[in-house]
Symmetry: C2
Subunit: 333 residues, 2 copies
Amino acid sequence: MAVTLKEVAERAGVSRSAVSRTFTEGASVSARTRAKVEKAARELGYSPNALASSLTTGRTKLIGLVSNNFHNPIFLEVFDLFTRGLQERGLRPLLVNLSDEVDPAQSIRMLRQYSVDGVIVASSTLPPSFAEAFRDAGLPVVHSFGRYTTSPYVHVVGIDNIACGRMAAEALVARGHRRVAFLGGPPRATSTQDRERGFLEALGGYSDVEVSVTHAAAYSFDAGRAEMARLLRAPPAEAYFCGDDVLSIGALSAISDAGLRVPDDIGIIGLNDMTMARWQNIDLTTIRQPLGEIIGSSIDLVIATIEDPGRHPETRLFPCRVIERGTLRPIPR
Amino acid sequence: MAVTLKEVAERAGVSRSAVSRTFTEGASVSARTRAKVEKAARELGYSPNALASSLTTGRTKLIGLVSNNFHNPIFLEVFDLFTRGLQERGLRPLLVNLSDEVDPAQSIRMLRQYSVDGVIVASSTLPPSFAEAFRDAGLPVVHSFGRYTTSPYVHVVGIDNIACGRMAAEALVARGHRRVAFLGGPPRATSTQDRERGFLEALGGYSDVEVSVTHAAAYSFDAGRAEMARLLRAPPAEAYFCGDDVLSIGALSAISDAGLRVPDDIGIIGLNDMTMARWQNIDLTTIRQPLGEIIGSSIDLVIATIEDPGRHPETRLFPCRVIERGTLRPIPR
DNA sequence: ATTCATTTTGCAACCGGTTGCAATATTCTT
DNA sequence: AAGAATATTGCAACCGGTTGCAAAATGAAT
């Protein structure tokens, strides 16, 4: 079916090695042979079999892109950036949908069978142990959107969720709120734990501020809406830091159903700044997570680790900032 | 690094073929050798190299999943279903992000280099010629969300966009609207063309109904909002069929900004029924496209075509239906 | 126990490439 | 023009598997 090296060699009247070399960066071929080979290749429509060559070179240029977040709209942006970024660097994303799977063993086996050069775990809800299992299997791995650690065992790229929690706290206090709350995602998600911790930590410094904490069952609209609806049955806080934008939008929906107004009756600040947060009918004040940088850096890091497998694990955190929109009242002056 | 067949063979004290056979479905191995091999494999942590075996078997179980829709939230659902569906059938999605690329040549070359077994083009905006180029390159291909043709040149799985246009028209007329309009996506998208055609066709039967047509620049919130804002500068129609849900949501935003009410002042019906359409703060009346069926069927079809490359191209269309929510007034009775 | 049919097994060639090495060709010195 | 240095080329082995074929082993039948 497909044209092979051998056929090109025969047509060009050269050895197979010569053909291989013309298609290998930096190999030694004379201009004359190269021309002959390229002509033959063009006529035959030849392009080298990446998989066959991977057998000897040990590189497939395949990167496992593993995620379990197929329901949060921000992950469409994440996949867009990852696939584009990988493609630009000549790498191919082999997408793995973890759905409800939490045991890495299966994915590891599969990704090794396909000899991926590296793995990117893109998830804010998987525990560190998940990515670590890949590393233990000898695969270069980067955990994007993972948890910050001072002595990381795998590469982590993301944001400082604790600092974000603090930032949210300061934002609410600065706006004069004195009864605030955290409406977090699932308690098992490390991102939720850290955001909560930072939030409480910062508010510990304000003795006149009252804080409470609750959790939604998932990072989802429905969960956010249900939890806010529940909260509204008792007198609610003045302002909420929601664990994530999609949760915020759910909360906003519940608030509006209850006939309350944002930001006058209740203030909301989210986290992520997904595209939808900018939509004028949502207009969510939120903490922006620099997706582009996180993803670009993740890719660079996985490449660096492929080139130097002994590389020491590192954590790369990118700064976030508050994006002012309409769900939090302005800072009084 | 990785354990090879040879090492397992040595440890088990059998030939390499024996090992290969124990891992090949339906090959002839005695229970005794199989046991020995499996033991050795387990001890060594061996799992066969899928790429190496693809060299001789001619199958990689890799499927190219090609799309250019990385901004429409419904495509997150699409990727979720595709990746899960493929995984369940033992196939691996190699994701290709076309972004602005419209020339298939590059993608074709890449996918052939990786010897994908088949290709799924998941896009409602790419022209039929795009998928056809894959077929011409000898790759089994299915165009999901593609255009219906009576004599297809490639497999197409999707919905009957013309029928959907008609369905939307009937829905508006049934609700007593007499001044209606189509707010389409980009005019070059075949889905837009067909939906428009069906819409106009059906309304041709009602001499007392006034119709108009405009187009948004893209299937996006911003484009829908901008176009509706423009429309509102003149007296608008009573009800709009928007080319897609995300467009509808943009339109709703413009309508609400203008101080008009839905469905009292203006009615909206969308198309897709993406998750977000159900969100209570959107509550969009829309035409549901059966994603699960379309995607399941696409996968089955690409598999069937891999097994029988001579298979005659076919079109599979799935019925859509109107989902009643809050953006269209009820049918008067 | 012998013969014959049926499994099981290993050999060796092959899939489509790459690469170390030695042979050959080319270019540069003097 | 001869010799040395450098560049190019082809051979052959290898990457990690699969598979047709013939030999060896097993089992059934007589």
